[in-house]
C-alpha cells in the first residue's frame, strides 16, 4: 500500500525537468510510434507467410486451399487466410486475436501436430468456424461478396433461385450452404442438410 502511494505521488507530481511542450509532443510521437509498431505487428500475424509458418497449417489446410477458387482463379483475386478467418473491424479483430492465444497453446502442446490428430479434430475445428460465421451472419464472406451488389442475372439458375429467396430473406446465411468451399469437409454426419 505504501509503495502504491509512492508511485501515485510520482505520477501525480508535475514534471520538474521537462517542459509541457516536450511532454505533450513527446507523448504524441511516442504514441504514434507505439501504435504503428503494434499495428504492424498485428498485420504481420495476418499474413499468409505467418499463418503457413506452422507445419499444422502449411501441410493441412493450406494445401487444401490451393486448389479452390478462393486461391487460384481467372481474375487473380485471392482470399488469404486472414480474409476469411480474421474479422476486419478493429474490436472484433482484437477479440479474435485474443481468442487465438488458444491456438498458441495448441501449437505448444501439439494438439494437431500430426495429420491423424488433425483429422480427428477436423470436425470440432470446422464447427467452431461454422458457429462463428453463423453468429456474425457470414461477415467475412460479405467483406467481398456484398449481397446488394449481386447480379442475379449473372448467376446460374439454381444460384439465383437460392440467393433471391433464402439468402435475401435472411433465413439463411452464406455458411449454411457454402461449407467446405476452401478446405476439405470433416465427417458431415448429423450436420443440417448433409445426412
Amino acid at each position: 500500500m505504501n509503495k502504491l502511494k509512492r508511485y501515485w505521488k510520482l505520477v501525480n507530481r508535475p514534471s520538474v525537468h521537462f517542459s509541457l511542450g516536450f511532454l505533450t509532443l513527446g507523448g504524441f510521437i511516442a504514441g504514434i510510434m507505439f501504435w504503428g509498431a503494434f499495428n504492424t505487428a498485428l498485420e504481420v500475424t495476418n499474413t499468409e507467410a505467418f499463418c503457413t509458418g506452422c507445419h499444422e497449417m502449411r501441410n493441412n489446410v493450406y494445401q487444401e486451399l490451393q486448389s479452390t477458387i478462393h486461391f487460384s482463379n481467372r481474375s487473380g483475386v485471392r482470399a488469404k487466410c486472414s480474409d476469411c478467418h480474421v474479422p476486419h473491424n478493429w474490436t472484433d479483430k482484437i477479440a479474435r486475436k485474443m481468442q487465438a492465444s488458444k491456438e498458441v497453446w495448441g501449437k505448444i502442446f501439439g494438439t494437431i501436430s500430426t495429420r491423424e490428430k488433425f483429422e480427428a479434430k477436423r470436425r470440432e475445428l470446422a464447427e467452431h468456424e461454422w458457429a462463428r460465421l453463423k453468429a456474425n451472419d457470414s461477415l467475412e464472406c460479405r467483406n467481398c461478396h456484398n449481397f446488394d451488389y449481386m447480379d442475379f442475372t449473372r448467376q446460374s439458375l439454381r444460384a439465383s433461385e437460392m440467393h433471391s429467396t433464402a439468402l435475401a430473406s435472411g433465413e439463411k446465411t452464406c455458411i449454411d450452404c457454402h461449407k467446405g468451399i476452401a478446405h476439405e469437409l470433416p465427417d458431415m454426419s448429423g450436420v443440417e442438410g448433409w445426412d
Binding site: I69, R158, E161
Partner: protein, 150 residues
C-alpha cells in the same frame, strides 16, 4: 581397306539416320512431341451450367449433370451431391431425387441409405461441355421406333 571402312561407316550412318527419321513418325499416345518436351495442353472447355436436362444419348444412359460440380467433395466424410439430391433434401432443393435403384444392393434388397456401390455419383453421372460430337449419334428412343411406320 580404307575404302571398305569408309563405305561401312557411311552405311552405318545412313542406317542410323533412317532409324532416327523413322522414330519421328511412330504413332504414340503423346503425339509427335519428343519425350524431353512438354506438349501444350489443349484448352480446357467450360462445363455447361444451364440447369437444363439433356436428352439421353443411348439406352439406359445415366442422366447427365447439367451444372458445374467443381470442388464437390464425395468421399467417406461427405457427399456434396446428396446435400441436394438425397430423398430428404429434394423438397428444399427442388433437385431431382436419386432414383430408388440407388438404395438397392446387388441382390435387389432395399437399404436405408444409398448403396455403397452407388455412392460415387460421378462414376456414372458426368458433366457436359458444349463440344462437337466426334461421331454422329443416330440413337432413337424405343418410343420413337415403336411409332415408326412398318
Amino acid at each position: 581397306m580404307k575404302i571398305l571402312m569408309f563405305t561401312l561407316v557411311l552405311l552405318g550412318q545412313c542406317w542410323m539416320l533412317s532409324a532416327w527419321a523413322g522414330q519421328e513418325y511412330v504413332a504414340t499416345l503423346r503425339g509427335e512431341v519428343p519425350l524431353n518436351e512438354e506438349e501444350t495442353p489443349p484448352v480446357m472447355p467450360n462445363v455447361e451450367n444451364r440447369d437444363i436436362k439433356r436428352q439421353r444419348a443411348y439406352p439406359m444412359q445415366p442422366p447427365t449433370i447439367p451444372h458445374k460440380i467443381d470442388q464437390y467433395q464425395v468421399d467417406y466424410k461427405a457427399n456434396k451431391c446428396m446435400s441436394c439430391h438425397a430423398r430428404t433434401r429434394t423438397e428444399e432443393s427442388q433437385a431431382p431425387m436419386v432414383s430408388v435403384t440407388h438404395y438397392m444392393n446387388r441382390d435387389g434388397n432395399f437399404l436405408a441409405e444409398v448403396s455403397p456401390r452407388r455412392y460415387f455419383c460421378t462414376q456414372c453421372h458426368v458433366t457436359q461441355v458444349d463440344a462437337k460430337p466426334l461421331v454422329e449419334n443416330i440413337f432413337q428412343d424405343v418410343e420413337t421406333l415403336l411409332k415408326a411406320p412398318k
